[in-house]
């Protein structure tokens, strides 16, 4: 107080007024100077933050309950980082969640430095379209920017002519590219057609579109298919891995040929999963009798095991393993064609006999000529044909025989020495034998079906199903494409039976499926069952092997494996009233217990056992 009184007395003393005034003016000048300096510094910081540090990339999104200024913590992209930018400060608001708006720039403490790159959220501006299909209109750094699209992007110009983008403009000189269909498109003017396996091209002569194959043996349809030489996306052709040769016919151990490769040099065969063929590989499964033998082109026939009746082995050609090259042991029967006695003509060996003259109005088999009677034609007995083939049926003196499919084998008949001779061809697994709509069995399996009736039966394990009916969900997979397919009803009601070993059964009608091998999963809540069946004709009734409903698919991926066990483990001893209720298989309440664990293990084991029985695993 004394100091204040003395200071006031000094100031109020008229003799010191000059000194007091000078001191006051100096204080005022210093204060004004200091205020201006600090204000300028703040303005510099704000301008720096606003002008140079707009970040348009991905920002860290989280609840930052942080201090405003903390050393480190964020990298130059505004992401969380252990070291930060440069050890300076990165300003954040308390309770901050997401990127800040530019208007909420927070000020750092005195003499603290705002990082060069701050996160101010996504830029915004008004950016009207420029009407150019070949530019992208977007706000970048708070400014409207028209960025060129990639060259080749489809576009139409102001006259609606189709073209592709080139340097930000629609180039319609690409006329000749074809539309979204590979069917003839006479104007060749549509959006360039391209699939994983083909490019649409235009025949400039007749203006007709066609598909030019590309990426042969490459993947297509998101990796589920493989490009064929005809430009279509087909099923994946499989080849043996490096170090293995493709199989040559039968495989050991009773496995399918898709898993069989010959291991170079070590032992005859081993089983290894084949992989999609590379660009320089020939699909292993295309190696069939008809494509690999040198017997057929030389006039012989590859026959399974040994030569059939009327044929003798020959070394002039080779066949695939398990087949021998055979040639007819006798001269083929002379068969007349259009030169018949009904028109007064007949085939004569070498040359026409007495009373006959050659004529070109009919054709005969090799070594014979067609002759016509010069005068009264002699009666020529008709050539008796004891064997004939019509469609899928071969008829000889013993009756009629029809071709059929047996597993992956095509059983067909042909006339050999006037007898219906059977032959068998083994199809690749991904192209199983199928009866076409015209009734001819052939490898392929792509023939669609009309109505298929499945007869299914279910058992159940570890559950006390007592109801007379059981609604079951069906999930259907194509084992050739390995994709889920439509065609099965979502839910089918199974009826209780009194047949031992067949607790429930149902007839399921399927439509519009291809003739193929299918894997079906039956689901009732957290119980699942599996089975496999093959559709080998365009219609008919097929029996699905009886399978067992078991518990265990806790993650609903239509399989039981350790991933389900992982879920069960997390529920062990947990109350059944929580999300673990699906692990309470016996609905006993309380907590997940040993009974549930035993049920899971039995389901796990049964699932695998039946999977192997059905040749799925």
């Amino acid at each position: 107080m004394g100091f204040i009184k003395r200071a006031f007395g000094f100031i109020s003393n008229p003799s010191q007024s000059r000194t007091t005034g000078i001191v006051a003016m100096l204080i005022l000048i210093f204060a004004v100077f200091l205020t201006v300096v600090i204000a300028q510094q703040k303005q510099t910081i704000k301008q720096s933050a606003a002008a140079n540090s707009i970040f348009t990339g991905a920002c860290y999104v989280g609840n930052l309950s942080s201090d405003a200024c903390t050393v480190g913590g964020f990298d130059s992209n505004c992401n969380a980082s252990a070291s930060g930018v440069d050890g300076n400060t990165c300003c954040r608001n308390s309770g901050f969640s997401g990127c800040r708006a530019a208007s909420s720039v927070r000020e750092c403490g005195f003499f603290m430095v705002v990082p060069q790159i701050e996160c101010y959220g996504a830029p915004s501006c008004t950016c009207p379209t420029d009407g150019n299909e070949c530019t992208t209109d977007a706000c970048v750094n708070n400014a409207c920017t028209h960025t060129n699209k990639s060259d080749g992007t489809a576009c139409t110009d102001s006259a609606w002519n189709s073209g592709t983008c080139k340097n930000g403009a629609c180039d319609t000189t690409t006329r000749g590219e074809c539309g979204s269909s590979v069917n003839p498109d006479l104007d060749c003017w549509k959006t360039p057609y391209a699939t994983d396996c083909s490019t649409g091209k235009c025949n400039t002569t007749n203006r007709t579109c066609y598909a030019e194959p590309k990426n042969v043996n490459g993947s297509c349809n998101n990796g589920s298919g493989q490009c064929k030489s005809d430009g279509t996306c087909g099923s994946v052709s499989l080849c043996c891995p490096a170090g293995y040769d493709t199989n040559f016919g039968s495989c050991p151990f009773g496995v399918t040929s898709t898993e069989c490769c010959k291991w170079n040099g070590f032992f005859n065969y081993t089983i290894v999963s084949k992989i999609p063929c590379g660009s320089n590989q020939t699909p292993a499964t295309t190696r069939t009798v008809t494509t690999t033998d040198t017997c057929t082109p030389s006039g012989g026939t590859c026959m399974s095991g040994s030569c059939g009746s009327g044929y003798t082995p020959t070394t002039s050609g080779t066949c695939a393993s398990g087949y021998v090259c055979c040639k007819q042991s006798t001269a083929p029967i002379t068969i007349t064609y259009t030169c018949t006695n009904t028109s007064g003509q007949s085939c004569m060996s070498g040359s026409c006999g007495s009373g006959y003259t050659p004529t070109t109005s009919g054709t005969c088999a090799s070594g014979t000529v067609c002759c016509k009677a010069s005068t009264n034609p002699p009666v020529v007995p008709p050539v008796t044909t004891t064997c004939s083939v019509s469609g899928n049926t071969c008829t000889d003196s013993s009756g009629s025989k029809s071709g059929s499919c047996s597993e992956n084998n095509v059983n067909s008949y042909s006339c050999v020495n006037s007898i219906c001779q059977s032959s068998t061809t083994t199809c690749p697994t991904e192209q199983p034998c199928a009866i076409s709509s015209s009734g001819i069995p052939a490898c392929g399996g792509s023939t669609s079906t009309t109505n298929i009736a499945l007869v299914s039966a279910l058992n159940a394990r570890d559950t006390s199903l007592t109801s007379d009916t059981l609604p079951i969900n069906l999930i259907l997979y194509n084992l050739t494409t390995n994709n889920q397919v439509a065609g099965a009803p979502a839910t089918v009601t199974f009826n209780k039976t009194s047949i031992p070993g067949r607790l429930y059964s149902a007839n399921v009608v399927l439509t519009n499926l291809t003739q193929n091998k299918y894997f079906i999963v039956f689901r009732k809540d957290n119980m699942i069952a599996q089975s496999v069946f093959t559709i080998s004709s365009s219609s008919g009734t097929f029996t699905v092997p009886t399978t067992t409903l078991v518990f265990g698919d806790l993650n609903n991926d239509n399989a039981i494996d350790p991933l389900d066990w992982n879920i069960f483990k997390s529920c062990w001893k947990q109350p059944t009233t929580t999300s673990c209720s699906s692990s309470d298989f016996d609905n006993s309440g309380g907590s997940i217990d040993q009974v549930d664990y035993n049920t899971f293990l039995r389901g796990y084991s049964t699932w695998y056992e039946e999977g192997k029985t059905n040749s799925v695993f």
Binding site: N13, N566, Y608, K612
Partner: protein
């Protein structure tokens, strides 16, 4: 000095003081440090391979018994279960069996043990105990034992099939990153494996 002048000086000093306060004022903010955790990618880091087969004692001079460890390296995964789907040549290997290794400890559970001697297919699943934690590290997860009838040196292989998978705590998909098949020379001692 006139009182009016003095009043003016005091008023100016007061204004100066207020301006300085505004200039130096620094708003207070929350004092807690940012608790930012960079999101981590949960990736499959576990590999499975075969160790060196060991020749065991043989009760018969006609057959040789082998013991083949299946090794696991988990990386950062806390592994809780392993399902092995193996393929072998049933014309070369006989009496095939699988036993748990020490990796999961003494509380491990065998979830699945199916061996088809006709097709040469092994389905074997092993896990930590229901109350145990996932395991990080490397070790022998299981051991395959078999006999061989070959008299002359012959190569054979045991392969991992695609259904092989590994689960880990907190991850709802397989964490198996890589498998290495085994190629072995039988009929001579010691058997030497090589990666395939």
């Amino acid at each position: 000095m006139p009182k009016r002048t003095l009043f003016l000086i005091f008023a100016l000093l007061l204004i100066t003081f207020v301006l300085l306060l505004v200039a130096f004022y620094q708003p207070q903010t929350s004092k807690t440090a940012p608790a930012v955790t960079a999101p981590k990618k949960l990736t499959a880091q576990t590999t499975l391979s075969f160790g060196i087969p060991v020749t065991a004692t043989s009760a018969s001079v006609l057959t040789t018994n082998y013991s083949l460890p299946v090794e696991i390296l988990t990386g950062g995964n806390k592994v809780t279960a392993v399902q092995l789907e193996l393929q072998y040549d049933p014309e070369v290997l006989t009496n095939v069996a699988v036993i748990p290794g020490p990796f999961f400890g003494t509380t491990s559970d065998v979830l699945l043990n199916q061996i088809d001697a006709e097709t040469g297919r092994i389905s074997y699943a092993l896990s930590v105990g229901l109350t145990a934690q996932g395991v990080i590290g490397k070790g022998t997860v299981a051991t395959v034992t078999f006999s061989s009838k070959v008299k002359t040196p012959e190569k054979t292989a045991i392969l991992f099939l695609p259904k092989t998978l590994v689960t880990a705590s907190g991850i709802n998909e397989s964490v198996l990153k890589q498998t290495t098949n085994g190629l072995f020379m039988l009929g001579e001692k010691p058997s030497t494996p090589s990666a395939q």
